[in-house]
Point group: C2
Chain length 408, copies 2
């Protein structure tokens, strides 16, 4: 039986994770390697939910490159340490043997890279020859050992574009409002920071609050008021993960003060809380906007650079495993900023899971509510270029895969 | 002094109101007519905040065509009846005399058309020769006497695109959620209905709730549960304006049960309320998404058809006033659906303000949670085509006008 490659997706989707899948599939085909996909990541793999890429139509594979979300399904399953419980690893090994899977490529974030590393270790410990590579994927851009992550550029491009449009919209009345835009990123401010691209290149947020700096309600209120009094309008971008001096999430303030009407833990997020707080304290009209899921799925405004790099990461993963390298993740090294140039390097999987990458100090303004020129130089290349989607009936056409489960 | 035209914008912005401004400006130039703009609509006009289009750079006027929001500012001012108070009308007449304004073109929704009509009447009653025309603008699509309104097609294209991307995103886990997307439209379901375009042409909402039909919480809960049990995921689109059998807004249920922590009237909208309610009743995980302001300002995904028709409406308004016609609004008449063809007609301004246009019965599914094939045929042509924006630094380039106030 021919040596085969198994690919799977894990964690929260992005606009370009399928571009990485496209990179994997096309490179594996070019190298004549049989490709299977585990549906719903490790969760599906453990149930034997595997499909054969040869069963998909070629035109759908072409569309896959520009299709958002995880076309092969996702999961949030973590594997225990081998020492604790080998059962699941043995199940996986059994499937790998049956299908002669000698290459395993897992596409996900921090936790997925940890899972990927454990599988690589188990295969080696059991003398089963299988080369494993991780492909990074996260809009949060918080993985260690890589200049940036596929998914971040497209999320940034959506965030900056939406903020530039919202900035124009909220500025039309002679007496406007304070508008608070809540942006994803629980522990790192990369996404919220990208809203500054709108401000630098056109119109965007006046104030930007990142989780890397303690958030002070009084100072925030005063700054919003000052901007509003000057411009009759104020646009603020806040990370969902901002915390006070004691490390307490600001969004949890709302939950302390009330549960929602059904006693669920959370109704509004930090944006809604702050908008409400500002109205109470200043009497100024406010509005809260959550960019929500659109941040990770707005493929129609994906960054071409991000899309191309996601494909490259997929291709590089295949080259790496076929080249006999294992237990690594594809990472990006920035060779130069102007002209922008990156190269792919391989980072040890086990080290990726050790932590998350926050925004470095050099990217954060001294006033704690802005970003630096260095950040703008870092982020601008990542949002460059527009993908050319196919449109039919006025809407983008996305891949529709069969994802038929094979018998084996 | 040369005969001049005055243009102004009013009400909530759209992605294409500036395309109508572009149509007015370029047609007036072609006809050699001096063009002024009142900043912040009637509110600015009453303060003498008027700018001269000749002071703007031509390249900015070109960009105006694709720039969202109201580039000349907006207002929500309504004028009293002449019989009640003539003061403001006399102020306007005084300014018109000073600048020899003989053509007045006002771009807005229902209330703005009413204002426009009152001004036309006052000018006639005072024997001041001034030809007045309204240009419709509303994402809500609820104006009478026109097949559809400029702004609706682009908002629909954004809503359907976002829903198609959200549908893929929310479908990636083996055990997903019920996702409730809240869409604008207080009294008419046109915008919410457009989410069905995503379902018909790709993936989109499973259930659609419009304000034209009474909303029943029990039936809603059961239907969401049924879809979820079948698909392990459910996407629902609800209009912000859904009401129960007694005509009470569902979003007001939340306010009845609690005020927010600062005693403001509203924290979450109807989507957040329903998501919370569903979790309580069914135990299924839920998420609420508000498409919020992006519905009216996402110029990056504007409909080319809508953009072209908005320009045409502006051009037609100028032709109408120069042709000696007054007290009318440019309206669209659908000549045929396949191929799609419209013509511009002139509707009496005074009749526009009489009411709003709800979705007709023939467009609403008998199950009260879907739309008909007739609606899809009506709406599809309106979202066709993509605008070609100029991008710099990875972001759309929008017009930056000087809007310098002239002295007179």
């Amino acid at each position: 039986m021919k040596q085969a490659l198994l690919y799977a997706q894990s964690g929260g989707p992005t606009s370009v994770i399928n571009a990485s899948a496209y990179g994997v599939i096309t490179e594996a085909r070019r190298q004549g390697i049989k490709t299977y996909v585990a549906l719903n990541g490790i969760e599906g793999l453990l149930c034997g939910k595997i499909s054969d890429i040869d069963n998909e139509d070629n035109d759908q594979i072409e569309l896959l490159r520009y299709t958002p979300a995880s076309a092969f399904g996702s999961c949030r399953v973590k594997l225990p340490a081998h020492s604790q419980d080998k059962t699941k690893y043995e199940q996986i090994l059994d499937i790998f043997r049956k299908l002669n899977i000698r290459y395993f490529v897992y596409n996900g974030g921090n936790d997925s890279m940890n899972t990927c590393s454990k599988i690589a270790d188990f295969m080696q410990e059991n003398d089963y020859e299988c080369y494993v590579c991780g492909i990074p994927k996260t809009i949060d851009n918080d993985l260690l050992l890589t200049d940036h992550c596929p998914g971040y550029g497209s999320a940034s491009k959506f965030i900056a574009t939406a903020c530039s449009e919202i900035a124009l919209d909220t500025n039309v009345y002679a007496h406007g409002r304070i508008t608070v835009v809540e942006i994803m990123g629980r522990d790192a401010g990369w996404l919220t920071a990208s809203s500054a691209l709108a401000s630098v290149y056109g119109a965007g947020p006046d104030l930007i609050y990142l989780p890397e700096r303690p958030f002070d309600l009084d100072s925030f209120t005063q700054k919003c008021k000052d901007v509003y009094e000057k411009n009759h309008s104020c646009l603020v971008a806040v990370s969902e993960g901002i915390r006070d001096n004691d490390g307490k999430y600001i969004c949890s303030y709302a939950n302390d003060e009330h549960k929602d009407m059904f006693n669920n833990t959370q109704l509004g997020g930090v944006g809604a809380y702050l908008a409400s707080y500002l109205t109470k304290k200043t009497g100024i009209k406010t509005r809260a906007i959550e960019l929500s899921l659109m941040q990770r799925c707005s493929a129609h405004i994906a960054s071409l650079t991000d899309n191309e790099e996601a494909v490259l990461a997929g291709k590089t993963a295949v080259e790496s495993v076929v080249g006999g390298i294992t237990n690594k993740m594809v990472a990006f090294k920035r060779e130069s900023n102007s002209p922008y140039k990156i190269s792919c390097v391989l980072a040890p999987l086990c080290e990726i899971a050790h932590g998350t990458q926050s925004m470095p100090d050099k990217f954060i303004g001294e006033d704690c509510c802005s970003v630096t020129k260095e950040f703008i130089e870092y982020a601008t290349p990542l949002i460059m270029g527009e993908v050319k989607l196919k449109y039919e009936n006025g809407l983008p056409v996305f891949a529709k895969l069969k994802n038929d489960v094979i018998k084996f």
